[in-house]
Amino acid sequence: MAPIWIVLIVLIVVVAFVVFIYNGLVQRRNIVDEAWNQISVQLKRRHDLIPNLVNAVKGYMDFEQETLTKVIEARGAAVSAAQAGPAGAAASAQAENFLTGALRQLFALVENYPTLKANENVLKLQEEVTTTENQIGFSRQHYNSVVRDFNTSIQTFPSVLIAGMFSFRARDYFQIEEADAVVPTVNLRS
């Protein structure tokens, strides 16, 4: 009778262990998905703002057609990249970077048009685009850190066993910039 008990106890322990780790992995994956949703809401908002901005400045900037076209094209690429969801995070990040560059150029040009700079509608849109861009930047830091947690846990023992069994896959980072990794160090007790 004794061996049956031992086998039973070992079995229960193993099952409990698997359940525990599996649940932990699911929880981490949900956190990653949640962080991605936050980013994608902001990306969508950014993509929606750009046509308005282009329309608002179009009348004033007849000679800068090239820049406007570039912004619109970059937006199109970013919109389609974002449709792939979290699986396409890396590609999406690249497209967004390109869009950021195009927008910078546009904002720099706006500086040359005093009437544009005084236009309240343009100013409002510019502020909205800026804050959305910043929010994407800050969400990205959060997203990357939860992705790092998730990836680490599915690559390390013992959770790697369970991750393999239930085919958890590592997630892409949303663009890693060196400056993001900096934690300011300062000695205040001196």
Partner: protein, 324 residues
């Protein structure tokens, strides 16, 4: 699943502030209890005096914990900025606060505006879920976007590491004791003297003796109060909030420029007083009260704070000379 506040200094500071808040409440209870004992002893009321004083201390603590932030905001004349259908001129302010809540993982605080042309800001509340951030209209006028972001990141750091809870308790508890002591001292030494005849006729010698004892006690307590206020906003506390702010914005120069601009500004914040001065981004009292330099000095010198930020600028690939 809630998001944890980000900056690396938060955890240690949260524990410290929770502990300090309890110590403060205990100190206030002991001080009030002693006062009650003195009064009780002098009037023959005995331990009843201590009991009454402890009950007062209890309700004062509960009151400042739950309603102190409203009191502080009210006494500063702050008006809430609506987060729905926000007027255009406050859109940027709310946007920047939103950015900083995303960066720090904190919930969105209530945002208040103080109608004063002196640029300054403070945060208050008992924890991040019940937090408020107030800025002056002068801050909005005089800061550019990056500077505003630096100031708000600093304030949200105070929220994230529970500085706001301790500072709130200090402001309301210590503030009201300081007020009491001011009032008693004035009453016994000046007011009491002036109305000498009338008082003696009614209260007799006993009342004067009690007041004298209270005045003496308060004279002993006063320096302790000063020390507590200092403790509330020791230099390292402000500098830590600056560093945490940089961790959020990744832009030391924005914050440094804001500090420089605010300290160069000649305007004086009229709504600030002794009980609220330690809450502010930059000490608002300093400019008109010379005494502030010694005992009531609640903030490190601006130059020191800028020097720390200048040291950080290099780590973020910025040019330290750009602060000016």
């Amino acid at each position: 699943m809630s998001v944890q506040p980000v900056p690396s200094t938060f955890f240690r500071e949260i524990a410290r502030n929770r502990r300090n808040s309890w110590i403060l409440v205990l100190v206030v209870a002991v001080v009030l209890g002693a006062l009650g004992g003195a009064i009780g002893g002098a009037t023959g009321f005995g331990w009843g005096g201590v009991t009454v004083a402890l009950v007062i201390a209890f309700f004062m603590s509960i009151g400042s914990y739950y309603a102190g932030d409203r009191l502080v905001l009210l006494s500063s004349g702050a008006k809430e900025v609506p987060q729905q259908e926000t007027p255009d001129q406050y859109r940027q302010l709310l946007n920047v606060v939103t950015e900083m809540t995303i960066a720090s993982g904190l919930p969105m605080p209530r945002v208040y505006l103080i109608n004063d042309s002196a640029p300054n800001a403070f945060a208050t509340g008992r924890d991040p879920k019940h937090a408020s951030v107030a800025v002056t209209s002068g801050l909005l006028e005089k800061m550019d976007r990056e500077e505003l972001q630096g100031v708000l990141a600093h304030e949200l750091s105070h929220v994230g590491n529970f500085d706001i809870r301790f500072a709130l308790l200090v402001g309301v508890l210590v503030g009201s004791i300081a007020l009491l002591s001011d009032w008693f001292l004035r009453f016994t030494f000046w007011g009491g003297g002036r109305r000498d005849g009338g008082d003696r006729d009614r209260g007799g010698g006993g009342a004067a003796a009690i007041l004298f004892i209270i005045a003496l006690l308060l004279a002993v307590i006063a320096p302790l109060i000063g020390r507590l206020v200092q403790l509330a906003v020791s230099r390292s506390r402000e500098e830590l909030a600056d560093v945490s702010a940089v961790e959020l914005t990744r832009n030391p120069l924005g914050l440094a420029r804001a500090l420089r601009a605010i300290s160069d500004d000649p305007e004086v914040l009229e709504v600030a007083n002794r009980a609220t001065q330690h809450l502010y981004f930059v000490n608002p009292i300093k400019s008109f009260e010379n005494r502030a330099k010694s005992m009531w000095d609640t903030h490190p010198p601006i130059a020191e704070r800028i020097a720390v930020l200048r040291g950080l600028a290099g780590q973020f690939g910025q040019d330290p000379a750009a602060i000016g």
